[in-house]
């Protein structure tokens, strides 16, 4: 069983190429932590087992580390460890 994570919805800066293909450039974990995406290594449909959710999973290299970020129904989320969430986010229910 994978460790329980929480979906943390995040603002993302995108680039759209001439074919309409999108690519995240910057992921804003919070005000103080905005991360540049060095490279998108893979995109595929995937369920997020640890936090729930189904969408397009982008495998991104950020500061030398591989990180997943999901695009689901137009919103972007990462599977965050509960301890990294603000009390507000931790309390809020995962889905609408």
């Amino acid at each position: 069983m994978e460790e329980r994570r929480i979906r943390k919805y995040v603002p993302v800066t995108l680039r759209v190429d001439e074919n309409g293909k999108i690519r995240p450039l910057v992921i804003e974990f919070d005000e103080q932590h905005k991360y540049l995406v060095d490279k998108v290594l893979d995109v595929r449909r995937a369920a997020c087992q640890s936090a729930g959710g189904v969408g397009d999973r982008f495998t991104c290299r950020i500061q030398g580390q591989e990180t997943y970020i999901w695009l689901e129904k137009g919103r972007w989320f990462i599977a965050a460890k509960p301890e990294y969430l603000t009390p507000d986010e931790a309390e809020s229910k995962p889905e609408t």
């Binding site: 329980r4 595929r44 369920a47 936090a51 729930g52 959710g53 189904v54 995962p94």
Partner: protein, 414 residues
């Protein structure tokens, strides 16, 4: 030339989707239930832990809670189920263009022509199963055979998350001992007839003489015998689900003749419930309600009426159908069957709040329906309601007024 057919069935679909997106629900007894605000809702799908505690599709919520006090009740989110269902079909569609959906969570695939590109039917089944798990976080049961009916028996045979291959060499061993009701198209009325004749298993049906069956069940008896023998020749009909569905109907040969308005009303409410459920599954509403009536001498007629506004409320559909009935039938003789159909469907996926029942429908209407359901359950047994819950489009021909046979359907989602 033998065909290679898969039947894929997502396990506890609604509940599985809810447990996927909310990990806190996993491993718990969960039931997706309609209309809980009004306390008249029923269980649409239960998780395996809930099923093990006796929670069943079609149960009233209060009954389910009685069976399992710690049951977690979740309201349905049809747009989400349709989204996942669409992705499920994308997976199926990557192995063959011959995909026939059956409800939101089941489909037949003809993979006879897919071997070169994708491997053997078992390899394709294994790949589908793994992809559904990885991409959608839910599980499927898959039946592999050379025809649709047997493939469906295969997906029912072992769940969840299993693959069963049934071919001529193991057919009798696996299929013959199964209860005759497991066969698609054997509904309560047919089951009762077969059992009265001592035919309780699929094997007995397969081995029964044609003479005997056609005397007891007419043409349908012979069709069922070929199904029981694993000889279903019907092709996999590819279709785009929502667009292709022009109407949603449900007809039923009554367990006994219908002799008065009350009998008919009960049947119409019951059938409308399944029509409305199906509409809500499709995130659609119907603009026209149609009524189909067949009397004891097999004469039949249809009437229909355009509604002021599209609806997916079973109460409104039933009342319209019943009003059509009262205006058009004058009891010259008892009835064998009635049917209800919603047509001119409109999509409500976007924009319209999908409350399970239209807001304008008042509580007392619901109480009427529940009253009818209760009376029916009292009269015909609890299963009479469960059996009618879902009817999907390949069987819509069953209420085609040009045919005199109305196939009762012993199939419901779950």
């Amino acid at each position: 030339m033998g065909r290679e057919i898969l039947h894929c069935d997502a396990n506890c679909f609604y509940a599985a989707v809810e447990m996927q997106r909310n990990p806190d629900l996993r491993g718990k007894p969960v039931a997706v239930c309609g209309n809980q605000e009004e306390r008249h809702g029923i269980v649409l799908t239960a998780s395996y832990p809930a099923k093990r505690r006796g929670v069943k599709t079609g149960m009233a919520i209060w009954q389910a809670r009685q069976a399992c006090p710690e049951l977690v009740v979740v309201p349905p989110d049809y747009p989400e189920y349709m989204r996942i269902s669409g992705m499920l079909r994308e997976i199926f569609g990557s192995y063959t263009n011959l995909v026939e959906p059956f409800g939101l969570d089941e489909a037949w695939l003809d993979v006879s022509g897919s071997r070169e590109l994708f491997g053997s039917p078992m390899e394709i089944a294994e790949e589908i199963s793994a992809r559904v798990k990885f991409e959608l976080g839910i599980t499927v049961s898959i039946g592999v055979s050379n025809n649709k009916i047997t493939a469906k028996l295969g997906s029912d045979y072992k769940k969840p998350d299993a693959i069963t291959r049934i071919m001529p060499n193991n057919y009798e061993q696996i299929v013959y001992p199964l209860p005759v009701e497991d066969l698609l198209y054997v509904g309560p009325a047919t089951s009762a007839k077969l059992r009265r004749a001592g035919i309780s298993t699929i094997g007995k049906l397969a081995e029964c003489s044609e003479d005997f069956l056609s005397r007891r069940l007419g043409k349908m008896g012979l069709v069922l015998k070929t199904f029981a023998m694993g000889l279903d020749p019907t092709p996999v009909h590819p279709c785009d689900h929502v667009q292709a569905i022009k109407s949603v109907g449900n007809g039923c040969t009554a367990p006994r003749d219908l002799v008065n308005d009350d009998d008919v009303k009960i049947m119409l409410y019951l059938l409308s419930e399944s029509v409305a459920l199906r509409l809500r599954e499709l995130a659609a509403r119907c603009s026209v309600v149609g009524l189909y009536v067949r009397d004891c001498e097999l004469a039949s007629f249809t009437r229909q009426r355009k509604l002021q506004e599209p609806t997916c409320s079973s109460a409104e559909i039933a009342e319209t159908a019943f009003d059509l009935f009262k205006r058009n039938y004058h009891w010259d003789m008892p009835l064998r069957g009635v049917g209800v159909r919603g047509s001119e469907l409109v999509d409500t996926t976007n924009g319209v709040q999908l409350s399970l029942y239209a807001d304008s429908i008042k509580r007392e209407k619901w109480e009427k329906i529940d009253g009818a359901m209760d009376r029916l359950r009292h009269r015909y047994g609890y299963l009479s309601i469960q059996r009618a819950i879902v009817q999907t489009d390949p069987l819509l021909a069953a209420v085609d007024p040009s045919q005199h046979t109305i196939h009762p359907v012993g199939y419901f989602a779950g």
